[in-house]
Symmetry: C2
Subunit: 239 residues, 2 copies
């Protein structure tokens, strides 16, 4: 009972931090970076942080913790599997759109793609995520997938899920840091800690806090769906 | 038995990745960034990435997994506690020296301190680490500390330890990314992917891989020291 109350407090914190990340990245790019367009200009670039933070980070995190909600435990697992897969598909589509936004802007301005550490980590996260979604769909949703395969896949799926979140967090932080150094120069420098710098740094702090809360929820064994806990007698039933 | 073999493979990978991070950051700063000094110049700055990667990341990671080595399980826990505390103290001292290196350079060049997202995350990691070390020393090493306090402290200590590692990883990645944008401009730009860019990006990839392996080792319940596993009958003995 005490564990359930703590879970819901943690879950509320997760939802609130995710929402705060989305609000913060939208306010930053609409109010301080001039808003949005899809024309190869810097206004198209603004979709990149918004789609990555909203899709690859927040929607992914929300999708990752679906099975942890105790309210869903007494019910058939299939609808929750479909919700998990749908949230993750939404996250993947937003991430790919976020990639298109930045590639378009780079190509329109003859800027090379995928040279920075930020981009290497970000593209690795998205490639692994696409593989994870495809293998997860085939392994856990197709009825023909054998139980033994599901049992073998599951720990890899869980571990890779957490690892992708760590990659995403590192990509978001390096991207926000890089963007603030790029745009805060000239009259108003980043080092003078202007309002936009504080907003961007606060977004980074929220991203880290969200990542930590999601990883905390995922790593607590007591919060795992009972038929998914290692050692549980029904371990193979719900995979 | 199979779990022990897998642990040692993972542990060897952890040691090798940590060593590769240290070699990579030393080669980068000695060969490509001109070497080291302590005179307020950019050569003093070069100590910053070396001390942070070696101390705050690698030595910290090595110290974090000490209790997971099965060879130590049959033995008295105290010497391993002392080794854990000593490695962490070494890591903390190197981190503080790494901070001094960059503050000195900033102050000598009238550059403000602690304005970037990288610096906010890095300083948060070090403050939390110092608190963690102090509370850990008082709670787990002082003989007068009551068993109940140790039992309450332990899950917080373990969770905060993993969280500090995530903060450190994000700080390292944003710092390496930022440094490469700063220094690779003019004739040889970062976007032309010069050898130094590949080296820096590879260092970032190694940092991520090291962080993931350490977190994997820490999160596997089967690899926890038996008297530390939740639910173990001797849970309170070894805290």
């Amino acid at each position: 009972m005490r564990s359930t109350v703590t879970f819901y407090l943690c879950y509320l914190l997760c939802l609130a931090l995710g929402l705060a990340c989305v609000v913060c990245v939208c306010v930053w790019n609409s109010r301080w970076r001039g808003g949005f367009a899809w024309d190869g200009s810097s206004l198209q670039f603004n979709w990149h942080p918004v789609l990555m933070v909203t899709g690859l980070l927040v929607l992914y995190g929300y999708g990752a913790v679906v099975y942890r909600v105790p309210l869903t435990w007494g019910q058939n697992k299939l609808p929750w599997k479909l919700l998990h897969a749908a949230l993750m598909l939404g996250s993947l589509i937003m991430s790919i759109l976020g990639l298109c936004a930045v590639f378009d802007v780079h190509n329109a301005n003859n800027t090379p793609n995928l040279y920075s550490l930020h981009s290497w980590i970000g593209i690795t996260a998205i490639i692994l995520f696409a593989l994870q979604w495809g293998v997860g769909f085939a392994g856990f949703l197709l009825p023909c997938s054998p139980v033994l395969l599901r049992k073998l896949l599951k720990p890899v799926h869980v571990w890779l899920g957490g690892s992708i979140l760590l990659l995403t967090t590192a990509a978001c932080i390096s991207g926000i840091n890089e963007k603030l150094f790029f745009v805060l120069r000239g009259n108003v420098t980043y080092s003078s800690i202007p309002a936009e710098g504080v907003l961007g740094n606060s977004l980074g702090a929220l991203v880290i806090a969200f990542g930590l809360v999601v990883l905390k929820i995922l790593s607590n064994i007591q919060w795992q769906r009972p038929d998914s806990r290692p050692g549980d007698i029904a371990y193979t039933v719900g995979v």
